[in-house]
């Protein structure tokens, strides 16, 4: 393997592991903020205990999100130096703004929140967790505007051999980035809801602390239902944007080979990129791809064959990841409705249902990761869509250097992720204080 492939694997792996921790941070910070606000408003101590219990799980998760995030920022320089040089004028400033305007806020106030229960008034203390939730989600916005530039570059001119900023306003109002932001955070908020529903179900199944976990379950179920719906709607809009600005990605998502009007979709399809087609396609639904992509059943959808081979993303991976995301997203909707129906007396639900809620904690995680695989694999072969190829972006490094660091990433990150899951499971099962 060469430096390019090793660097891609390293970045992909580091991002995937980082993104195990990020969505729960985004979702749970908001949920804890809602719980603590209820405590401040009603004076009901249960909500304070809830904020502490869920806050502890939040913190175990948060620490790893922070430390795995730093490596991502630095990898642009270490492994993708040509990319950094090429887009630094735009991309670098978005990352720098994220750190100054958002991440400082989050990191400083989470510590104040943790250590400040007895030092601050209840109101001020609740403000701290709101600041954390706000800052975490604001961080996501800046990061996704940066990613939005890679997906759909705007507000730049190519000058002096690099992409130079021509309009900051266009960069920060990039519709691609904003929609990606809403799609990601609503997915993360739903994930937070499912996490709370699932962990509450562990305790409800044992009939322990029923009042505490019923209240928690109710907050979680509301988050899960509302945002499972919103994430799907925003996702549909995301599909429209992709159809418009990244037609090759759309074609790969659907393994759609021939340009045609009234483009169909197949319930089951197996891509066969070597023969530029699908080896199996069953369950044809006419015009539905045109309708989903362009909100018009007769719209023309460009097929992969109309793109030069070197401009096509890896079809099988993009296609499978997209199907996985949509399938799990649909499952989330069903589960969220069930949780919402059960929300008043979840302890009286059938043990099977409660067990199902426990076992589906990973579902939104996999859906979100699959969604990111669609976004990033589908962007290939470009690192900045249409203007810079991934292969032209990598640093000049010795193969051994990258091979060693990749192995180190694998070992350290897998250990950390395993430890984190072990600790989360341990503290999730504990009785609240």
């Amino acid at each position: 393997m060469d430096v390019l492939m090793l660097s891609r694997l390293q970045f992909a792996f580091a991002t995937f592991i980082h993104f195990i921790f990020v969505p729960l941070t985004l979702g749970l910070s908001l949920i804890v903020a809602v719980m603590e606000t209820k405590y401040v408003r009603t004076g009901d101590e249960t909500y304070k205990r809830m904020a502490k219990f869920w806050g502890k799980l939040f913190l175990i998760n948060f620490a790893l999100g922070v430390v795995t995030g730093i490596t991502l920022e630095f990898q642009f320089g270490t492994n993708w130096s040509r990319y950094s040089e090429f887009v630094g004028d735009i991309f670098g400033s978005l990352l720098a703004i994220e750190a100054t305007a958002a991440f400082f806020l989050e990191s400083t106030f989470i510590a104040v929140w943790v250590f400040g229960w007895e030092k601050l008034s209840p109101k001020l203390h609740a403000v701290c967790i709101w600041l954390v939730a706000f800052a975490a989600n604001l961080s996501a916005l800046w990061i996704l505007l940066a990613n939005g530039f890679m997906q759909h570059p705007v507000g730049y001119v190519i000058r002096n051999g690099r992409a130079e900023l021509s309009s900051f306003l266009e960069v920060v109002t990039n519709p691609y980035g904003w929609n990606e932001f809403f799609h990601t955070v609503t997915g993360a908020w739903a994930l937070g809801g499912f996490f709370v529903v699932g962990v509450s179900s562990i305790h409800l199944l044992r009939k322990s602390n029923v009042d505490f976990f019923t209240k928690s379950f109710r907050v979680g179920a509301a988050f899960a239902l509302i945002f499972s719906i919103v994430v799907a709607l925003v996702g549909h809009r995301q599909g429209n944007i992709v159809a418009e600005v990244q037609p090759a990605k759309l074609a790969a998502m659907e393994s759609h080979w021939e340009t045609q009007k009234n483009a169909p979709m197949y319930l089951l399809a197996v891509p066969d990129p070597a023969n530029e087609g699908n080896s199996i396609q069953i369950g044809r639904i006419p015009s539905i791809l045109s309708l989903m992509a362009f909100n018009d059943p007769s719209a023309e959808v460009k097929g992969l064959k109309d793109f030069p081979k070197e401009d096509r993303p890896p079809v099988t991976l993009t296609f499978s990841a997209f199907r996985l995301m949509v399938g799990l997203g649909t499952l989330m909707l069903v589960l969220a409705v069930l949780a919402f129906i059960a929300r008043h007396h979840p302890a009286e639900s059938s043990p099977k249902l409660l067990k199902a809620f426990i076992w589906t904690i990973p579902v939104p995680y996999i859906a979100l990761q699959a969604g990111w695989a669609v976004a990033e694999v589908g962007r290939q072969p470009w690192i900045v869509y249409g203007i810079m190829r991934t292969r032209d972006a990598v640093s000049t490094l010795a193969v051994e250097q990258v091979a060693i660091s990749l192995v180190a990433f694998f070992v350290v990150y897998i250990l950390l992720a395993a430890l984190d899951i072990f600790l989360l499971a341990k503290y999730a099962r504990k009785d609240p204080a």
């Binding site: 730093i70 490596t71 950094s84 400083t108 600790l423």
Partner: protein
């Protein structure tokens, strides 16, 4: 002053702030195995940095981000040519970060020992690596015309680089001992002040040694000789070195810590001013150096980022100082019973 120079100064100041702030976290981690006599003392040491270390680390992310935003080519060349030390630094920081969160989560002696070892490694290695890296930056690294490092990790472990590494370890250990004294009381406070007293001569000797080596082995003094007024900058670390000594003798750990902060920040700025207008000098050929001129972003980006920095950095400083004020009390045994304590 033009935009490029303004950003150069901001760049140096951000790195200096990072060293001053995370320096005491590293320092506590470095002295802990030699200082702590019990689990209670170890926990007091961790909790002395408890509410701060996370916010401190963000200064590194900001310094890195600003290098990326304001001087993208420097960012690209510096980070790729320092690949291995940077990776080591990142892994060390990961260990340091998770230690604090994980250590108290499982009640087992072996578990705590494991994380204590990780915390030491995660504090000592960054101190050493940052020292080695910055000394090499001050001296110049062998980058060629394509921004590729002609050498490897061993190239960086030259006498001057190692002197920089040792200097950082000593500076941070001293800095951490003073912070610990500020955040503790009774016996621990007295012993921490005592340790700082023992470390001070080591720091002083290494500072002098580093200055002598800078004079003989690097071009750092060229700017100073051309503009003798710049020697005033060198007064900052020297005054810091004296103040930290005087205030410690008076038993005022926070004031002494501020002196140490001036010493660390001043030392960083001394080097940064010395390499101006380069951010990463090439030891092969001055024409290959990464400078303000050949590596900066467009004036548009620099202006926008300057606006962002002028608004947000003061806000960050205000709320971080507020945090410091809120948690200024010494950590006591009772504090360790607080359920969220590390």
């Amino acid at each position: 002053m033009d935009l490029g120079t303004t950003w150069f100064i901001l760049w140096g100041v951000l790195w200096a702030i990072y060293f001053v702030l995370d320096g005491f976290d590293f320092g506590i981690g470095i002295i802990r195995p030699f200082f702590s006599k019990s689990d209670v003392e170890t926990r007091i040491m961790y909790n002395a940095m408890g509410p701060f270390w996370d916010g401190n680390e963000v200064w590194l992310i900001t310094a890195g981000g600003v290098t990326f935003a304001a001087f993208p080519k420097t960012y690209a060349v510096m980070f790729s040519s320092l690949y291995t030390p940077l990776m080591l630094l990142l892994f060390a920081l990961i260990l340091r970060g998770v230690t604090l969160e994980f250590r108290s989560k499982v009640d087992s002696e072996g578990w705590r020992k494991l994380w204590d070892a990780c915390n030491f490694l995660g504090s000592f290695l960054p101190a050493l690596l940052l020292g080695v890296a910055f000394a090499n930056i001050f001296k110049g690294v062998p980058i060629d015309g394509n921004g590729i490092l002609q050498g490897n990790l061993l190239t960086l472990l030259n006498p001057y680089g190692l002197a920089g590494g040792l200097l950082f370890v000593a500076l941070f250990a001293h800095h951490g001992a003073l912070w610990l004294a500020f955040k503790s009381e009774g016996d621990i406070r007295a012993r921490a002040l005592g340790l700082a007293g023992k470390l001070w001569p080591v720091v002083a000797v290494l500072v002098v040694l580093f200055l002598v080596m800078s004079w003989t082995m690097t071009q750092l003094f060229t700017n100073y000789l051309v503009n003798p007024i710049l020697f005033a900058i060198l007064l900052v670390p020297v005054i810091g070195l004296i103040l930290t000594y005087t205030y410690r003798k008076q038993g005022r750990p926070l004031a002494s810590w501020v002196g140490s902060a001036l010493l660390i920040g001043g030392a960083a700025l001394f080097g940064v001013v010395g390499i101006f207008p380069a951010l990463l000098p090439s030891s092969l050929n001055p024409a290959y150096s990464m400078t303000i001129e050949n590596s900066s972003s467009t004036p548009l980006t620099l202006s926008i980022m300057l606006g962002v920095a002028l608004v947000f950095v003061p806000i960050v400083i205000i709320y971080q100082v507020w945090t410091l004020h809120t948690f200024r009390h010494p950590v006591t045994k009772e504090d360790l019973e607080y359920e969220e304590a590390y």
